[in-house]
Symmetry: C2
Subunit: 278 residues, 2 copies
């Protein structure tokens, strides 16, 4: 088994403990060479401050979280979403991010029209793609676990994300539109292996954490790598077989465990698990 | 839109309030003509007592919950599972159940081998199918929502369930092995319409409830029909277009809401929602 790609810290992993500035300092202190910030913390620090700090420290920005959230109740809402995505693209460009992660959004308020939401997502991505290409920011559609279909993302399989890439992109070699693959969201899929092969070079980001048994909260009970049931090395090997040579970005939302611990301890654990179980 | 098929009460909907005997009496009192018991309550009442009572009241048994749970850590565990499924088939036959619902099981203890679990499920169904056919009990594979892949069922899409039917059954007209379609588990699937068409007459049971936003518990926060985001009439129409003319079985596990209410009120609500939003 090859060694995994370098570790990147998705800052939500220590959201409750650290500001973005502290995350950047923490990565530098622990020798973590990649970072993936969220926009709320980025806004708090200021994009230019963050970009300067990240450059000084020499971190690779493996992604910006997040764009997306396209479906809306009316045309004005959809337009606001597009404009917000353009601002996210600007921020990603300012940071030199390897991609903007798209969490595409779920059903509009009081809608039960899933097919309509799918169409709104595709239309939204189509609307921002030229802007993203002009800015040099690849868009990474992140299929979310099906338990988020209603309220966060109605694209729930790698296959569906790639259908959108096939429809809107310029073929399998076009990395301006691709996918962010998070083991948490896709590990259960019986078609995962086939779809990773189909994705090929369009895997723009590889996210890691683990699925706990039991899982006590749909959103905020993700596990540290090694503490759950996901065959992370097995998925990583398939992703790398397609030519992925980027970072392993750890993204853990854990209200009752990792968010309550000392952030330096969390980073130390991420580093140790990255070496041993990823 | 056609009127929905008659209502059946999956007894877990009032699990905390009523015994199986009370469920049978409750269905008779409220004019509900179908019932689907769980095996724990069936064992408590006694299979022969239950069968006699159900016959006297004239209920259709739309399913027995449940067989399955095939994957195990060793051969002895897998053999125990097969024998337990044979007892479930005996019980289903004694009740004249329209099917035995199979919740196939997740990963064996401390396993991360999802493909291995898939194989164990298929082998387990293959092992019990002759016994089920001899007993005249159709087996209905129930794909469960992907959030249950680890601990309850590693068959999480209608497509995967039908792959197993295609492999082990005698073609699309063979109703000795089919599927139980619960809107809760499959509503998010972008391939749902195509797979319902593929299922054809192999849809042996149609289960209803709703997906709440937010959902506060993975297992025990299902919603009453109409309280969530699932387009139940839309899915029902597709199922009926394949020739399904059976019951609509309401199955709600709701620790903090419906399990805390008066069971007669719960049944009245089911009846009203069945008329208005199914």
């Amino acid at each position: 088994m090859n060694k995994p790609g370098p570790l990147s810290l998705n800052t939500i992993t220590v959201r409750e403990q650290w500001s973005l500035q502290q995350c950047i300092e923490g990565c530098a202190r622990h020798g973590i060479t990649g970072i993936s910030p969220w926009r709320d913390k980025l806004a708090e620090y200021g994009v230019q401050n963050a970009a300067k700090h990240i450059r000084e420290v020499g971190l690779t920005v493996t992604g910006l979280c997040r764009g997306g959230m396209f479906p809306a109740a009316d045309a004005a809402g959809r337009q606001r979403a597009i404009e917000d995505n353009q601002r996210a693209i600007d921020d990603a460009a300012a940071l030199g991010a390897q991609c903007l992660v798209l969490v595409v959004g779920g059903l509009p308020p009081s809608s039960k029209d899933l097919a309509g939401a799918h169409a709104q997502v595709q239309d939204g991505i189509a609307a921002i793609l030229p802007y993203a290409r002009a800015a040099g920011v690849p868009l990474a559609i992140e299929p979310l676990h099906p338990m988020f279909a209603a309220d966060r993302a109605c694209v729930n399989t790698l296959g569906h994300a790639l259908d959108i890439c096939d429809t809107l992109g310029d073929g399998a070699a076009d990395r301006s539109l691709g996918v962010a693959l998070d083991v948490y969201h896709v590990w259960w899929d019986p078609h995962l292996s086939a779809q990773i092969k189909r994705a090929g070079r369009r895997i723009l980001a590889f996210h890691i954490c683990d699925w706990l048994v039991p899982t006590t909260d749909l959103l905020l009970d993700r596990g540290m790598m090694g503490d759950g049931v996901i065959d992370i090395p097995g998925i990583r090997a398939q992703v790398e077989a397609q030519g992925y040579d980027g970072f392993c970005e750890v993204e853990i939302m854990s209200a009752n465990n990792w968010w309550r611990r000392d952030a330096d301890d969390v980073l130390r654990t991420c580093i140790e698990r990255h070496k041993t179980v990823v």
